[in-house]
């Protein structure tokens, strides 16, 4: 880890216009910083805003979205001037791998040509040189170079995800955003892809943001992680600390709901459902489902506060305990 911040997200908000005058506030003040070469997990259930967060970083949100906040890449704000400030960095500095790589590829274009496209766009390489680089990248991700002339449908799910990684690396990015890269894959193929992702991150000095609902995958790949709920980060810290000493009830319950191979206890189930994000929220967004809620939780929104070295959590319990101790 180089210790230098390559990517900083500051107070990011994303709203989606729903058409009937309503707005859905999908990302609500997300801040995080990524160091060079670091592998960071962004964890949450469906609708928590984790994918929207990284799409905002890529500048790939749909037209009905509006964004506020800053996304700093080596000190430059990617959001400052919309598409004009995002485009020069997309694929060249920040690349992305999508869930179910079928959507990432054009079905009627050869895989090799698609991997070469960002190189030509950013003038990294063209013609023969681009083809040589495509061959090199394909071999690096475990695909015979001769398959560059094949079409996406001729690849298995695992092979497509390998090709997507090759495409993401085409312009030597510093940051790789991976959105549920193994969710649709079998467990053995998942293991292959996670191993590949880790070794690529090491070899290319990539900082990785791994977006997933799968806590064990994060524990396996990442050193730090943030847990998102209802558009906010509710806890962040080293993955060991999140598992062994969670400081937010949602983190604790999520782990308690995750089955372990050799453990036999009862699994937790969290009653209720996440709040609707097209309405204003009062108090803590997790309060209605929380097993530790107390008086201030319905009234006051808990801020994300430091709870230890490199750790933050947004829960009134942490400050209440501190007051009692003081």
């Amino acid at each position: 880890m180089s210790g230098e911040r390559v990517l900083e997200i500051e107070d990011l908000h994303v709203w989606f216009e729903l058409g009937d005058g309503r707005e859905l506030h999908a990302v609500r003040g997300v801040s995080l910083a990524l160091e060079g070469g670091e592998r960071f997990g962004l964890v949450g259930e469906s609708g928590s805003g984790k994918t929207t967060t990284i799409l905002a970083v890529m500048g790939l949100l749909p037209p009905n979205a509006s964004v506020a906040g800053r996304v700093l890449l080596d000190g430059q704000d990617l959001l400052a001037r919309g598409e004009r400030s995002a485009r020069p960095h997309r694929w060249s500095d920040v690349a992305m791998v999508f869930q179910g790589a079928m959507n990432a590829f054009n079905p009627v274009q050869r895989i090799g040509d698609q991997i070469a496209e960002p190189m030509e766009l950013h003038e990294v390489a063209e013609g023969k040189e681009a083809r040589r680089r495509v061959a090199e990248l394909l071999e690096r991700v475990g695909i015979p170079a001769a398959r560059a002339s094949r079409y996406p449908h001729e690849f298995s799910g695992g092979m497509r995800q390998r090709a997507a990684l090759a495409m993401a690396l085409a312009c030597n990015p510093k940051v790789l955003l991976a959105d549920e890269p193994t969710t649709a894959l079998d467990v053995m193929v998942q293991a292959q892809i996670l191993e590949l992702l880790t070794s690529l991150a090491n070899d290319f000095g990539l900082a990785v943001v791994l977006v997933t609902h799968d806590l064990p995958v994060v524990a396996h790949v990442c050193s730090r992680a943030a847990v998102m709920y209802a558009g906010e980060i509710v806890e962040t810290g080293p993955v060991e600390a999140l598992y062994h000493e969670p400081r937010h009830p949602y983190t604790r319950l999520l782990y308690a709901a995750t089955p372990e191979l050799h453990a036999d206890g009862d699994l937790a189930s969290i009653p209720g459902a996440p709040p609707r994000l097209d309405r204003p929220l009062a108090g803590c967004p997790f309060q209605p489902r929380c097993d530790r809620a107390f008086a201030p939780c319905t009234e006051e929104h808990p801020p994300l506060l430091g709870v230890g070295p490199g750790r933050e959590a947004a829960c009134h319990l942490n400050t209440a305990v501190r007051e009692v101790q003081a």
């Binding site: 079998d186 998942q190 089955p259 372990e260």
Partner: protein, 334 residues
């Protein structure tokens, strides 16, 4: 509804199900040979009332085809399927009908399995209507009973709702209620929680566990060994159309014998970052079931394979290191 209380509710012996591979118009005109997908190639197992068996494996291993064959949603080529003592392989679809009421399927995706235009009441009463059971009042009563059994209580609160007004977990409970109105003896659950958020999965699994404790037999199809280990009584691990290992769930997970099961368990990610095991990652992908390897079908990817494995197609038998009488594996090396 029980007739044969003591024996197994479901007995499957030597099940073989193959699908023709579409040749396409070019293949047909060129008279290419007809190929067949060997989806299930000799699968045998038994399931008792009050027992949950998990069929575990990767895509293409034949677990879903096995389940569909048991329900006669596809027609098997060979073997025997006995349900409560009756051989259902040879029954006509008309004669199968009264038995089919007693075996129900729960689908993977509650977002697709429920008709968005139907209120909960209509969805849950539908199977009764199809089978011409009960008066209007009786059907209503049955639907309420099934909803409460599925954990949607009080039922009156849910009867008038549409699927879009329900969460993912509630939708899956409605789907389960619809399968319970006919008082089945066997539930086949095909990846019942894989489309649901982690926080609601345990609730659905606990519901299935509760139904099992009430005497239902449950055949669960899953790719998730951690879930199978926690909820199933027994696990059968499938690879390329065969059961390669079978036994009590804990025994299979804590003391795996077949090299495929061992590899599969070693790559299951663990939630505790300190709980590190050296993953034994198998290279390549599962071979195409059109072209099943000779001898042991796992030998091309097996770390223990010896020349003999290319010739001998191993049968399930008790391995030397098994701790349970009922633990079997299909491997000549263990």
């Amino acid at each position: 509804m029980t007739t044969n209380g003591s024996g197994p509710l479901l007995e499957v012996e030597g099940l073989v199900t193959r699908y023709p591979v579409p040749r396409g118009i070019v293949g047909t005109l060129a008279r290419r040979p007809r190929e067949r997908v060997h989806a299930v190639e000799g699968v045998s197992f038994r399931l008792r009332r009050g027992e949950m068996l998990a069929l575990v494996g990767e895509s293409g291993c034949g677990k879903t085809t096995t389940a569909q064959s048991v329900l006669r949603l596809v027609d098997p080529d060979e073997g025997a399927i006995r349900f409560d003592g009756t051989d259902i392989m040879s029954l006509s679809h008309r004669k199968l009908r009264p038995l089919r009421r007693r075996m129900q399927l729960i689908y993977q995706d509650p977002y697709e399995s429920l008709d968005p235009r139907f209120r909960v009441r209509a969805t849950v009463e539908e199977p009764l209507l199809v089978h011409g059971i009960g008066s209007k009042a009786e059907r209503r009563q049955e639907a309420e009973r099934a909803l409460e059994l599925a954990g949607l209580s009080p039922a009156a609160l849910y009867l008038g709702r549409y699927p879009h007004e329900l969460s993912g977990g509630q939708r899956q409970r409605v789907a389960i209620a619809a399968s319970l109105v006919l008082h089945p003896d066997l539930l086949v659950a095909d990846e019942p929680v894989s489309m649901l958020d982690v926080s609601v999965r345990a609730g659905i699994l606990a519901l299935l566990d509760d139904l099992r404790a009430r005497g239902l037999a449950i055949l669960m199809i899953t790719h998730d060994l951690s879930t199978a280990a926690r909820y199933a009584d027994r696990i059968a691990v499938m690879y390329l159309g065969r059961i390669v290992e079978e036994g009590p769930a804990r025994e299979v997970v804590d003391n795996p014998q077949h090299p495929y099961t061992r590899a599969l368990l070693s790559v299951v990610p663990r939630p505790d970052p300190r709980d590190r095991v050296a993953p034994e990652i198998l290279r390549g992908e599962t071979p195409n079931p059109v072209d099943v390897p000779e001898g042991c079908r796992f030998h091309p990817r097996c770390p223990l394979a010896i020349p003999e494995c290319r010739e001998v197609d191993p049968e399930l038998r008790r391995p030397a290191a098994a701790r349970s009488e009922r633990h079997t594996a299909a491997c000549i090396r263990v």
